[in-house]
């Protein structure tokens, strides 16, 4: 995959590039701020952008704003945003439009190489990857608490994994159950929460997120 990395901390940038190259990806550019990010995306036309949120000059949400703009200019561009903290607001802004091929992860998720690569591939394939931490905060802050309480613990687990953007097969693997069992849980969740049934993974994620109030 051709990847562009935007991260202001030199040490993290180097680490990220090393990690991606180790895994056989091509990092076409690694830049320290959002302005340079826009330039290199224009120049190299990568498949996927991996970007930090807080970058110079204001250290607030530069990366996110750049991501939203880049997506508006080219909806086929995949973007994986990551930050040090969970900010559900950031997640909502990123997912507000078209959420296919968008991911939002916490930085420490990068340490688990396999999970990170999974998320990257999911986003590259046009899916969604949300950090479990983000999802659990969304579930916690949801204004549809009462309906959520009708779910069984297992169903809530499945809902969380769905919101992260995982497919039935991935959920089955994560929970050590059969795919059939997952399908049953999903159907039950959709009925209980009164969600429109959808087969495409990322549209299913969307439905769940809308439900959670993103």
């Amino acid at each position: 995959m051709r990847i562009v990395v935007a991260e202001d901390s030199p040490i993290l940038r180097a680490g990220l590039v090393g990690l991606l190259e180790d895994e056989g990806h091509e990092v076409v550019a690694a830049v320290p701020d959002a302005t340079r990010l826009r330039e290199v995306v224009e120049e190299h036309r990568p498949q996927i952008v991996v970007s930090d949120i807080r970058m110079p000059p204001t250290h607030t949400d530069e990366g996110l704003r750049a991501a939203v703009e880049l997506r508006a200019a080219d909806p086929s561009l995949r973007i994986l945003i990551f930050s040090q903290y969970v900010e559900t607001q950031y997640a909502s802004r990123l997912l507000a439009g078209n959420s296919a091929g968008v991911g939002y992860l916490l930085k420490e998720r990068v340490m688990d190489t396999k999970d990170f690569m999974d998320a990257l591939e999911r986003v590259a394939a046009g899916g969604t990857a949300l950090d479990p931490e983000v999802v659990s905060q969304l579930v916690g802050a949801s204004n549809s608490r009462r309906a959520l309480e009708t779910l069984t613990p297992r169903e809530r687990e499945v809902l969380g994994l769905m919101a992260e953007g995982r497919s039935n097969a991935a959920i089955a693997a994560a929970l050590f159950v059969t795919e059939r069992a997952v399908e049953k849980h999903v159907a039950s969740i959709f009925t209980k929460l009164d969600l429109p049934v959808s087969s495409a993974d990322h549209r299913r994620v969307l439905a769940v997120l809308r439900y959670l109030g993103v």
Binding site: D22, R54, Q84, V110
Partner: protein, 419 residues
Amino acid sequence: MSENAVTMETNPVTAVVRRVLREPFTARAWRTFVFCFCQPFLDLVGLIAIGIAVAISIVTGGLASPVLLPPLLGFSRGLGVLRRAMTRQLLGVDIPEPIRAPRRRGALGFIAYHFGEAIGWRGIGYVLIRLLMIFEFVVGVGFRLGLPLVFMGAIHDRGISSVTLVAVWTAMFLAAPPLTELILQLDVWLMRRLLGPSEDSLRIRELEQTRSHAINEAAATLRRIERDLHDGAQARLVALGMQLGRAERRFERGDTEAGLSLIRETRAETKAIVQELRDLVRGIHPPALDSGLEPALGTLAAKTPIPTSVRVGLRSRLPAATETILYFTAAELLTNAAKHSGAQAIAVTVIGDIREDAVQLIVTDDGRGGARLDGAGTGLRGLAERIRTMDGHLTLVSPIGGPTTVTVQLPTCKVDEGN
């Protein structure tokens, strides 16, 4: 006196005579004249307002006074504004505006705000005291115009020759400016006390300012620590984890050599993180301070690139908060000296005063001097602000060519230990 007068006059007596002759015609003399001329009219207006209010109150058996008092006090405040403006314009003396206390809650607050309002009452007091200040008008206006003389002349028309009259008038005319200045000094003194801010209100304002400064400072410090952690240790730990993840993958693939080299890098990185956290901790609370101000300052001196001597003459340990602020003040002053002074040596001295309720930190260097409190990049102003927060003050003596001495005085009794 004009410049050529200075060069021309060799005889001091002629100089004085010239000055006395010139004085009544200076712009300043005319301004004081106008000032003295206007005052009785303002007094009259004030007295009439008070008189009307008192009269109506008496007639209505006191019933009208609650209604009349607030506007009378407001009027008195307005008169004060006018007088301060005149004093500023005509006498060139700036009397600061008094600070009105905010309204407190409840009925008592209402009464205090509208009936016990200090600025208005003090203004009324000033109007009454001014009844005794008639001589300001007599001297400031009368002496110049010869009014008393005309008066005397009218009574004793026959006994006084016109030559004497002119001589007396001339003497009064010449004596008017210095006498007026003298009387005006008394007036300004009165105005400062009665029309200016009270000492309590000034103190309250000072406390409000320093408190808000302290709050902002604390917020900025937290923000800085957050940034340092976010950009420093936290980012490095993530990078470390990332590297360990990569090493793990290499081992999984059987590439032991590459995996090992990554692990070695991580170990070096861990040391760097520990060092960084140590620096950060030192910035929050230097561990050396735990064993006392003297060893802490000694450590600081050892790290300063210019030879620095430390002398601490205290009989007992200071409150922790005082020690901390002295330490950081010294640290900042030493950094400044190292950066800007070009000095060969620096001396840091801490002494307590006799009653042990104040402490002084003196930092002297033999550098090039010329440091200024408002100078860019030295941070001396911020330091002075921070010290003001603790009711202390910072003085800077730094002539061009040096030496530079910064003295910080802090009270020790006001600082609570806290928890």
